[in-house]
């Protein structure tokens, strides 16, 4: 699998064969559309403090929480499951941190305490999913649907139904700060994605998860500890969703109990699918999930930028995603291939006849 042995042309060909290649193409196309509307769209300016600013940077910032939940979702989907609760876990995490910071002093210590609380709460919610799926044996769809519904209610109970706001400079910096001129959130999300990617491929975790997703019975008889792995994956997905919730609330330092993380589980599932991971489980692709998350963020920004009326936004999104899924589908691609093959085969036949 070493890419260095091959030339750049081969590497490019390999990229084209990847399912997420079309996700990259879609991002480029959307940016192009925006560029046509406003030639200055892609401009990136350097602010007084050396920080980059511009539409592209905004997209990366917006993509960060989606990347986190998409990475978690990707692992869950690989095991043949699904996690519908990530959006609700996000709002619970936001509610917990805001409620805590509201009365806490504006110090770095409070930030870390808040983060620890977020990890504990989101891990606990993930563990409930994990127990329901792996020990009780409920279907993942139902188990996580329960948490999805209960989670938002829980968030409202925590804040007393209010959209709690707080002030804490360090906490705010996570969402709005810059390192090396780039938004901290994006760097953190990228770090997590790369870390998880390395973890699953360098260890045997990837193989185990795929084995469970492809054939749970055979994997169990081969000695794979399905229960423990499922449990771990759901907890991990929960914690990542918790951090996504921190990203989402820290930028405005307010948790909106009815809007924070609302329907983001769907964005995460879409990102995973765009990245070439089948919802049936098995082979998965973390890079693809990241590409998918960036595409979704780009799409959201484009919709706003083009001034598509908010009532038509879901339809616009749907069209782009359906087109993409069609391009990725093996059947549609085969039709294209056959067309192309037929086009090149005919001249060859003529030569044979001539000879």
């Amino acid at each position: 699998m070493s890419a260095n042995a091959r030339g750049p042309v081969e590497a490019l060909k390999g990229l084209v064969r990847r399912q997420y290649f079309w996700g990259i193409v879609a991002v480029a196309l959307l940016l192009l559309v925006n560029l046509v509307k406003d030639p200055g769209y892609l401009a990136v300016s350097i602010g007084p403090s050396g920080n980059l600013a511009g539409n592209v940077i905004d997209i990366l910032r917006a993509a960060a929480p989606v990347i986190l939940i998409a990475v978690g979702m990707c692992l869950v989907v690989a095991t043949g499951g699904i996690d519908l609760s990530v959006g609700s876990v996000m709002v619970v995490a936001g509610a917990v941190s805001m409620e805590f910071l509201k009365d806490a002093p504006d110090t770095v210590g409070s930030t870390f305490t808040a983060l620890a609380l977020v990890i504990a709460v989101s891990a606990a919610l993930g563990a409930v999913n994990g127990v329901l799926v792996s020990v009780v044996g409920l279907q993942p769809f139902i188990s996580t649907l329960v948490i999805m519904l209960a989670g938002r209610g829980l968030a409202k109970v925590i804040t007393g139904g209010q959209n709690t706001a707080a002030t804490n400079e360090t906490f705010r910096w996570i969402a709005n700060g810059y390192v090396f001129g780039l938004p901290v959130v994006f760097l953190l999300a990228l770090l997590v994605a790369v870390g998880v990617g390395l973890l699953v491929r360098r260890s045997a975790l990837g193989l185990m998860l795929e084995a469970i997703g492809m054939d749970a019975k055979a994997a169990r008889l081969a000695g794979v500890n399905r229960r423990a792995l499922l449990f771990t994956v759901y907890i991990f997905g929960g914690v990542l969703a918790g951090f996504a919730g921190v990203f989402a609330t820290a930028s405005v330092m307010t948790v909106d109990v009815s809007r924070t993380g609302y329907q983001l589980e769907l964005d995460a599932i879409l990102a995973v699918v765009i990245g070439g991971t089948s919802l049936a489980g098995g082979k998965f692709n973390i890079t693809g999930a990241v590409v998918g998350a960036i595409l979704i963020a780009t799409l959201d920004k484009t919709v706003v930028f083009l001034g598509v009326s908010s009532s038509a936004t879901p339809a616009f999104k749907a069209i782009v995603i359906v087109a993409l899924c069609l391009l990725q589908s093996e059947r549609v691609r085969r039709v294209f291939r056959q067309r192309r093959a037929a086009g090149t085969a005919r001249p060859a036949e003529r030569e044979v006849v001539a000879a």
């Binding site: 360098r202 193989l207 185990m208 084995a211 019975k217 994997a219 081969a222 000695g223 098995g282």
Partner: protein, 521 residues
């Protein structure tokens, strides 16, 4: 048989897969009202030919004529509309549907308001009755049936389609003698009605009992078409594997008996059992010994094997390993204690279809190490290379998805998976089911060699001859309990085991009679 027009004629069929020419200029004819067996080793191209005829694979060259008309079969639906039905090697039914729904799937009887379920279930019952399966309730879930009966349901399903051609790919591999006879009765009846039947089986006795004609393939090539009576078994096998008869004889030579040492047993269970699966059994397994589990289908052979491995949790009994008490309640725990089980259900509990040969082979070793300690790629490659060579896996390509291998080669990879875990106790449940003579002999020899090396082996097969030939000691099971334990050797034969089972059944009858008398008196 009158030489009428063939219903199926395949001429000059070639099919290539990347790197392999699966079929090379093969011809095949099938006449109405005949049972025609397709013979050949694993990988000879039998399954490929069948898949070409059922529209699963596209043919690269050649022509398929159905009833004299050239047909292009672009998919299974095309084949079905051409009157071709198939029952595959592994049961291909929806286990979450009822029996009736499975039988009638695609042929549901429609009323004014959609499907008329009552009529559909009635039709299903009629079809089942024709097969002598009238005792089955069409509204029962298919999953509750044993594999063997599911197979019969699959056959009745193909009868609903009123096919002119019925393809039976290894239909008998999971049936016991009675069920085979039942199936044959149905096959003969269908044949007399003019249905053309293509039959594939590795059991030569069955092939000779049922077929009118044979076509032999070898390495994707056509070797010949014969009337069954003009080709005796020895010549058939020689044609199939392309070797002369003398070398074959040596395969049958009986392995010399190993002498059991007086060491305490490696594995010893007292009264292990599980409600509904098998009643309490004592069993001792020694190093360097092959213990056969004999019994009819449903006698509890597989259930006992699963209990030893922890695939099902025993709810009674105690297990000791080398004299120490052990808790073996999950496969992971069994593997940690160097116990391995190769399941009878290769498709659902063995291979993981979409993983490569390498990944399938290292999976159990990796599972035991845990995910955090990955097996370095170099060691993986070494392991895979070792077992591909030792077991003769073909093609010898570690990165090929295992689903593309033939059944016998998949089985070899699985055997490699378990051997790679360096087991001290290896349980083989039907390791030779549905694989050809050559691969079977290879696996049998390998099992004997393993026991010689000091492994404790448990061997399960529905072919009693095979159990007798392989085992040093045989545990006979009936009705989910152990009825006898006999030393192998002279005087033990398949017949003597059948006698033991039959006598036990007679005993049951007598006991029943006594009970009945007591009740009536």
């Amino acid at each position: 048989m009158p030489e009428s027009l063939p219903i199926v004629e395949m001429v000059g069929i070639s099919i290539s897969f990347p790197g392999v020419k699966a079929l090379d200029d093969v011809g095949f004819r099938l006449f109405p009202g005949e049972v025609h067996s397709l013979m050949g080793e694993n990988g000879a191209g039998k399954s490929t030919l069948i898949k070409a005829l059922t529209g699963v694979y596209k043919i690269d060259e050649g022509e398929i004529r159905i009833a004299g008309e050239p047909r292009r079969l672009g998919g299974t639906a095309d084949a079905q509309s051409a009157g071709i039905s198939t029952v595959y090697q592994e049961v291909n039914l929806c286990s979450n549907l009822t029996i009736g729904e499975n039988v009638m799937l695609g042929h549901e009887i429609k009323g004014a308001a959609g499907i008329n379920w009552r009529a559909t279930h009635r039709a299903a019952r009629e079809t089942l009755e024709k097969l002598g399966l009238g005792h089955l309730d069409p509204k029962q879930s298919l999953a509750t049936l044993p594999l063997a009966v599911q197979q019969l349901v699959a056959i009745s399903r193909s009868m609903v389609a009123k096919s002119k051609v019925l393809i039976l790919d290894e239909p008998t591999s999971s049936l016991d003698a009675n069920e085979v006879e039942q199936l044959f009765t149905v096959i003969r009846r269908l044949r007399d009605q003019g249905v053309a039947i293509l039959f594939v089986s590795h059991f030569l006795d069955q092939v000779y009992a049922i077929s009118d004609r044979l076509t032999v393939l070898r390495n994707g090539r056509f070797e010949g078409e014969y009337r069954t009576e003009e080709l005796d078994r020895a010549r058939l096998i020689a044609t199939m594997i392309g070797k002369d008869i003398a070398t074959l004889k040596s395969l049958d030579a009986k392995a010399s008996r190993r002498v059991r040492s007086d060491e305490p047993p490696l594995y010893s269970a007292k009264g292990i059992g599980r409600k509904g699966a098998i009643s309490e059994v004592d069993i001792d397994l020694h190093r360097g010994e092959v213990v056969g589990l004999a019994g009819l289908l449903g006698s509890g052979r597989t259930e006992l094997a699963r209990l030893i491995y922890g695939a099902d949790r025993p709810d009674s009994g105690e297990v000791t390993l080398d004299g120490e008490k052990a808790e073996i309640t999950t496969p992971a725990k069994a593997l940690a204690r160097h116990i391995a089980l190769s399941s009878e259900n290769r498709r659902d509990e063995g291979i993981i279809r979409d993983l490569s040969v390498r990944e399938n082979l290292v999976l159990a070793v990796q599972a035991r190490r845990g995910w955090a300690r990955p097996l370095p790629r170099r060691e993986q490659d070494a392991l895979v290379e070792k077992y591909i060579a030792a077991l003769g896996v073909r093609p010898a390509d570690p990165e090929r998805p295992i689903r593309l291998l033939s059944g016998g080669n998949q089985q070899k990879v699985l055997l490699g998976r378990w051997l790679a875990t360096e087991p001290e106790l290896l349980i083989l449940d039907e390791p030779t089911r549905g694989i050809d003579v050559g691969a079977k002999a290879e696996i049998q020899e390998y099992v004997a060699a393993l026991a010689d090396d000091g492994l404790a082996v448990v061997f399960i097969s529905s072919e009693l001859e095979e159990v007798v030939r392989q085992s040093d000691r045989i545990i006979v099971l009936k009705d989910r309990r152990k009825i006898a334990e006999i030393e192998g050797g002279h005087g033990v034969s398949a017949d003597s085991i059948v006698t033991i089972i039959a006598e036990d059944a007679l005993g049951d009858e007598r006991a029943d009679a006594v009970v009945r008398e007591e009740v009536t008196s």
